[in-house]
C-alpha cells in the first residue's frame, strides 16, 4: 500500500523517525503540531526533533508545508490573522505556543533567513546590529564588536569591512543573503531558521552560502528548508521528508539518501516523483 496515496486520500499515517535521530539532544522538539488556515488544515500532527548543533533539512514537494512548519517555529504565522494551531513545540524545554509566552522575546532567541534576501534600507552596519538596536543597545563599542563578529561569522567581513556605512542594498544578491545571515546570528540565537536561502541566488553565491552553513554547523542549530536534493545531501546532518502536510520519514541524511526505510522516500530523493 502506497503511503503517499493514503496521505492524498486523507488517511493518517505513522511518521517514521529513525532511532539515531531521537537519541540525540534536541534544541526544538515539535509535539503533535497541527496548523489550520481558517478551515483548511496545512500541517497534520507533526512530531519531530531538531537536533542541537546540527543541520536539519526539510525536503518535500511544493506545498507540503515545509515553510509553514519552519515559520511556525518562531511563530511568524501569528502575523496571519486566519491561522490557528494545535499541539506545541518546545525550545530548549520551554513551550513556544503557551499563552503566557511573549512572542517578541521568543523571536529574539531565534534567527531567520528568508527566500529572497531582505536587507533593510539602511547601512550594512545598521543592518547587522538591528536586533541589538531594537533592544535599545547604544554602546558603540558593543555594536561594533557584534557587527564584526557576525559579519566574520557570515564570511562577509573581508568583503565589506571598508564600506560598513554604505547601504545594505548596494551589495550583490549573494552578499545580501550573507548579510541577512549575519543579522540572524547577531543576537546569538538558539536556533537558526533558513527558508530556502539559496533559491534566489546564482550557483556561485549558492556555493558560498553552503560553505557558510557548513562552517556554522556545531556552533548553531540550523533548520533549513530546501528544494534542492543535492543541497540537502551536501549540507545537512538530518533530513525530514514531508508530504502534503505530514512528516513521512526523518533520519540521518546519509540514511535518507542511501537506504531509507520507506520506498516513497527513496522515490522522492532519487527524483522518481515530485
Amino acid at each position: 500500500m502506497n503511503r503517499l496515496k493514503a496521505i492524498a486520500d486523507g488517511q493518517t499515517i505513522e511518521s517514521v523517525i529513525h532511532q539515531e535521530v531521537l537519541a540525540r539532544e534536541t534544541v526544538v522538539s515539535i509535539r503533535d503540531f497541527s496548523l489550520f488556515y481558517n478551515r483548511k488544515q496545512a500541517l497534520y500532527n507533526i512530531s519531530m526533533p531538531i537536533v542541537k548543533g546540527m543541520v536539519t533539512a526539510l525536503v518535500g514537494p511544493s506545498g507540503c508545508g515545509k515553510s509553514t512548519l519552519l515559520r511556525s517555529v518562531n511563530r511568524m504565522n501569528d502575523l496571519i490573522e486566519s491561522v490557528r494551531i494545535e499541539g506545541d513545540m518546545l525550545l530548549n524545554g520551554e513551550s513556544i505556543f503557551a499563552p503566557s509566552v511573549d512572542v517578541i522575546q521568543l523571536r529574539k532567541r531565534m534567527g531567520m533567513v528568508f527566500q529572497k534576501p531582505n536587507p533593510f534600507p539602511m547601512s550594512i552596519f545598521e543592518n547587522v546590529v538591528y536586533p541589538l538596536r531594537i533592544d535599545g543597545q547604544r554602546d558603540k563599542r558593543v555594536l561594533m564588536q557584534v557587527c564584526e563578529q557576525s559579519l566574520r561569522g557570515a564570511a562577509l567581513w573581508e568583503e565589506v569591512k571598508d564600506r560598513l556605512y554604505e547601504s545594505g542594498l548596494s551589495l550583490s544578491g549573494g552578499q545580501q543573503q550573507r548579510l541577512c545571515i549575519a543579522r540572524a546570528i547577531a543576537s546569538d540565537p538558539e536556533v537558526l531558521l533558513l527558508d530556502e536561502p539559496c533559491s534566489a541566488l546564482d550557483p556561485i553565491a549558492t556555493g558560498k552560502i553552503e560553505d557558510l552553513i557548513d562552517r556554522l554547523r556545531g556552533e548553531y542549530s540550523i533548520l533549513i528548508v530546501t528544494h534542492n536534493m543535492q543541497q540537502a545531501s551536501r549540507i545537512s546532518d538530518h533530513t525530514a521528508f514531508m508530504y502534503l502536510g505530514r512528516l513521512v520519514e526523518m533520519a540521518e541524511t546519509s540514511t535518507i539518501f542511501t537506504r531509507p526505510t520507506l520506498s516513497e522516500t527513496e522515490d522522492y530523493v532519487t527524483g522518481r516523483f515530485g
Partner: protein
C-alpha cells in the same frame, strides 16, 4: 478556410491592420499636447509681457485731437485695427486703458517723443508726460533724473520719519484701547456699569480692580494728550516739507490755446517767424531774449513746436493746419505731482534694451516683494504670496500628522474587513467633493460654531448651557465612563485573552466606549455654563468668529486630508512585506518595525503625497472666499509683531486675488494684465511644488532600491 485567398470583410481587414487606430489615438494625443502647450504659452506670454516697458506712442485722430499710450494689444475686427492702449494719467483722463480704432486715426504711424517720461505713482497709476519744473531746485532736462533721484531719497527719509510718528500715535491709541478693554473685562466680571465712573472720574464705592482700571485709563488719557500734541505738530511739519516737493509735468493732453496765422509751407519747412505771437500764446512775456523756437513735423498735418524759454526749460506746442494760412495751436495740460508719490520714473521712449531689462527686473522684484497699490492693480503681490504660503504651511502642519497617522492605522493596525473597506471608499470619495462644500462647512462650523465658542462661549456659538449642578453631575458621569473605557482597553490588550472571542468583543466595546467618552467631552464643552469665551471683552467684534487664517488653514487641511491619506496608504502598501517579516523575525515589535523599517521606506511616497496636497491647497480658491481671504489686507498674517503668527487675521490669497482683481474690482478691465501675471505666478508656484515632488520621489526611491539581484 483561412488562407491567402480567403476573403475578409473590409471592417475586419481594417481592424486587423489597426492603422486607423494609430492615427486616431495619435491625433488625440497631439490635440491634448496642443491644448496644454497653448494654455502654457498663453499664460506665459500674457504674464511675462505685462511688466515689460513699452514705448509711449502718440497718435493723431482725424479731428486733430491726440491720443497716446503704451500699445498693449492690437487686433483686427470689423475691417479695422483695434488698438488697446494704456493711456494712463488717470486723474486727468479718467481711464487707464482705451480702445482706439485705426479708422479714427489720421496717421497710422505714431510719434514716440524721446523726451517723454513715464512716472509710476503710488496713486492714480502711471503718468506720462514731459517734466517741466521741479519745485525744490532749478533743473535742466539733462539733470532731471539725477535731481529727482536725489529728491526721492530725501523724501523717503521724511516718509520714514512720518511713519515713525504715525506709529507712535498708533501705539498710544492701542494703549488706550487696551485700558478700555480692561474696564470692559471688569464690567463683565463684576456685572457693573462703569461708564458713568469713567466719564466723571469718581471711583467711590468701586472694587479695587475697577478702581485700578479706571485710574489707568485716566492716566493714559492724560499722558496721551500731551504726547499727541507734540506728535501732531511734528507730523504737520513733516507733511509740509513733504508736500513742498513736487514736479510739474506737461501731459500730452491737448488744450486749445488759440490760432496762429502763418503759411503752412513755411511752418513745415521748420521756420516760425512770428515769435512774439507764439510767446503770447504760451504766456511768455516778450523781452530782449526772445524764446528760441524749433519746429519738427510729426504728422502730415501736425507739427511739434518746442519753445526754449530763457531759463532753458522747454515748452511744447502742437500746431495743426486748419487752412492755407491758419493753424490752431494747442498746448499740453500741466499737472503737478508730489515727489513722494513717485515710485519709479524713466524716459520710456529713450530706453535701450538693457535699460528696459533693468526696468523689467525692477518691476518683477516689486511685483514679488512689494505691497499692492491702487487696490491691487499696481504694485506688488507680496501680501498675497505671503498669505498663501503661510496658510499652506499651517495647513500642512495640520494635515500631516492626522493624515499620516490615520493611514498608518488603516494600513498597519486595523483589521481588514468590510468596515475598513467602507471607510477607505468614503475617504476616496471625499477627495472628489467639490471644494466649495468644504468652504461652506468651514464657514458654518469653524467660523461660526468653533470661532463663536472661542470668542464668547457656548451662548455665542448657539448652544444653551446646562445649569451648573447638571453640568457637574455630567462631568462626574463622564469621568466614570472614561475610567471604564480605560479598564476595558487595558483588559482587551492582555496577552492572556489573545484570539478568544472575548478579546474581540472587548476590543469593540473598548472602541465604542472611547468614542462615547470623546463625544461626552465635546458635549460637556458645548454645554458648559462656566466658559464665557476668551475674547468676550471684544464682542460684538468677532476675533475668531469670522473668516481668518486659522480656519482657512483648517478647512484646507480637511480638504487635503483624503489626498494625504490615500498617498500615505499607497506608500505604505508599497513597502515589501519581506522587510516587515525580516524585522519581526529579528524580534522587533510592531511599532519598532513601523518606526524603523516601514516609515523610512515609505517616506518618499509620503512626502510626495504631502507636496501634492500642498499644491492642491495652495491653488484652491473657492473655499478661501468663504473662510478668510480678502482682497486687501492691511496686516500680514505672520509678521514681527508679537505673537508673530496672527491666526485671527484675515489674509490675502493669490488665487482669490486673481478672481477679485480680474472680476470684482472697480476697474477690472484695467486690472486684466495684472491678472495674467498673477496667474503666471500661481502656476509657477504650483508647478514648482509638483516638480519638487517628482524630483524628491525619484531621488529618495533610488536610495531604497536594490542595485542588483
Amino acid at each position: 478556410m483561412i488562407g491567402p485567398n480567403s476573403k475578409r470583410s473590409a471592417q475586419a481587414q481594417i481592424a486587423a491592420q489597426g492603422e486607423p487606430m494609430v492615427w486616431l489615438s495619435g491625433g488625440m494625443f497631439a490635440i491634448a499636447c496642443l491644448m496644454i502647450l497653448s494654455l502654457l504659452a498663453f499664460v506665459l506670454w500674457q504674464g511675462l509681457w505685462t511688466l515689460w516697458p513699452r514705448n509711449y506712442s502718440i497718435y493723431t485722430r482725424n479731428d486733430g485731437s491726440l491720443v497716446g499710450g503704451e500699445l498693449y494689444s492690437k487686433h483686427f475686427q470689423d475691417g479695422q485695427n483695434k488698438l488697446y492702449l494704456r493711456v494712463g494719467n488717470y486723474d486727468v483722463s479718467n481711464r487707464h486703458f482705451a480702445y482706439v480704432s485705426s479708422l479714427e486715426l489720421a496717421d497710422q504711424k505714431p510719434w514716440a517723443d524721446p523726451d517723454l517720461w513715464l512716472v509710476e505713482r503710488k496713486e492714480w497709476g502711471n503718468l506720462y508726460g514731459f517734466p517741466k519744473e521741479l519745485s525744490w531746485t532749478k533743473t535742466t532736462q539733462d539733470h532731471f533724473a539725477d535731481q529727482v533721484t536725489q529728491g526721492m531719497r530725501e523724501t523717503a527719509k521724511i516718509d520714514r520719519q512720518l511713519a515713525q510718528a504715525k506709529n507712535e500715535l498708533k501705539r498710544i491709541d492701542g494703549d488706550i484701547a487696551e485700558a478700555r478693554l480692561k474696564i470692559r473685562r471688569v464690567e463683565l466680571a463684576e456685572k457693573v456699569d462703569l461708564q458713568r465712573a469713567v466719564e466723571s472720574g469718581s471711583v467711590e464705592g468701586l472694587s479695587p480692580a475697577a478702581k485700578r482700571a479706571i485710574e489707568q485709563l485716566a492716566d493714559r488719557n492724560r499722558r496721551a494728550d500731551d504726547a499727541m500734541v507734540q506728535i501732531n505738530e511734528r507730523i504737520a511739519e513733516l507733511e509740509a516739507k513733504r508736500s513742498g516737493r513736487s514736479i510739474l509735468f506737461e501731459l500730452p493732453i491737448a488744450q486749445e490755446l488759440g490760432t496762429l496765422t502763418a503759411p503752412w509751407s513755411e511752418l513745415s519747412a521748420g521756420k516760425l517767424r512770428d515769435v512774439q505771437a507764439v510767446a503770447k500764446l504760451i504766456g511768455v512775456e516778450s523781452n530782449a531774449s526772445a524764446p528760441a523756437i524749433s519746429v519738427e513735423p510729426v504728422g502730415k498735418e501736425l507739427l511739434l513746436c518746442k519753445v526754449a524759454v530763457e531759463d532753458q526749460s522747454i515748452r511744447r506746442l502742437w500746431i495743426r493746419r486748419l487752412g492755407e494760412t491758419t493753424c490752431s495751436v494747442s498746448g499740453f495740460q500741466e499737472h503737478t505731482i508730489l515727489l513722494a508719490d513717485v515710485v519709479r520714473f524713466f524716459p520710456t521712449n529713450r530706453l535701450g534694451l538693457f535699460q528696459r531689462l533693468g526696468v523689467y527686473a525692477g518691476r518683477w522684484w516689486e511685483f514679488l516683494s512689494g505691497a499692492p497699490r491702487e487696490a491691487g492693480m499696481e504694485g506688488g503681490f507680496f501680501p498675497a504670496i505671503w498669505g498663501t504660503v503661510v496658510m499652506t504651511i499651517i495647513m500642512s502642519m495640520a494635515v500631516m500628522p492626522f493624515g499620516v497617522l490615520a493611514a498608518l492605522y488603516m494600513r498597519e493596525y486595523a483589521k481588514r474587513g468590510w468596515l475598513l473597506s467602507l471607510i477607505r471608499i468614503s475617504i476616496n470619495n471625499l477627495a472628489g467633493v467639490p471644494s466649495i462644500v468644504y468652504g461652506v462647512f468651514g464657514l458654518s462650523f469653524f467660523c461660526y460654531i468653533v470661532g463663536g465658542y472661542i470668542d464668547g462661549g457656548p451662548k455665542k456659538a448657539g448652544f444653551e448651557p446646562w445649569p451648573s449642578a447638571v453640568w457637574f453631575s455630567a462631568l462626574g458621569l463622564l469621568a466614570l465612563l472614561s475610567l471604564v473605557a480605560f479598564a476595558v482597553a487595558v483588559l482587551s490588550g492582555q496577552a492572556e485573552a489573545r484570539r478568544s472571542p472575548l478579546r474581540s468583543m472587548l476590543r469593540w466595546a473598548g472602541g465604542l466606549l472611547w468614542l462615547a467618552t470623546l463625544a461626552g467631552i465635546v458635549w460637556l464643552l458645548i454645554k458648559s455654563p462656566h466658559f464665557q469665551g476668551f475674547y468676550q471683552a471684544q464682542l460684538p467684534n468677532p476675533t475668531f468668529g469670522k473668516g481668518c487664517l486659522l480656519w482657512a488653514a483648517l478647512t484646507l487641511a480637511l480638504l487635503t486630508l483624503p489626498v494625504v491619506i490615500v498617498a500615505t496608504e499607497e506608500a505604505l502598501s508599497a513597502v515589501p512585506n519581506s522587510l516587515r517579516e525580516g524585522s519581526y523575525a529579528c524580534g522587533a515589535g510592531q511599532w519598532q518595525t513601523i518606526h524603523r523599517i516601514v516609515l523610512p521606506y515609505a517616506r518618499p511616497g509620503i512626502i510626495t503625497g504631502f507636496i501634492l496636497a500642498m499644491a492642491r491647497g495652495a491653488g484652491e480658491v473657492a473655499p478661501m472666499m468663504l473662510v478668510g481671504a480678502i482682497p486687501l489686507a492691511t496686516d500680514l498674517p505672520l509678521d514681527g509683531e508679537f505673537p508673530f503668527l496672527h491666526g485671527s487675521r484675515s489674509f490675502m490669497h493669490l488665487g482669490f486675488q486673481i478672481y477679485s482683481l480680474g472680476f470684482q474690482s472697480q476697474n477690472s478691465e484695467a486690472a486684466k494684465p495684472m491678472v495674467y501675471t498673477a496667474t503666471l505666478l500661481l502656476l509657477a508656484i504650483v508647478t514648482l511644488l509638483n516638480q519638487t515632488a517628482i524630483w524628491l520621489r525619484a531621488n529618495l526611491r533610488k536610495r531604497f532600491q536594490s542595485s542588483q539581484f
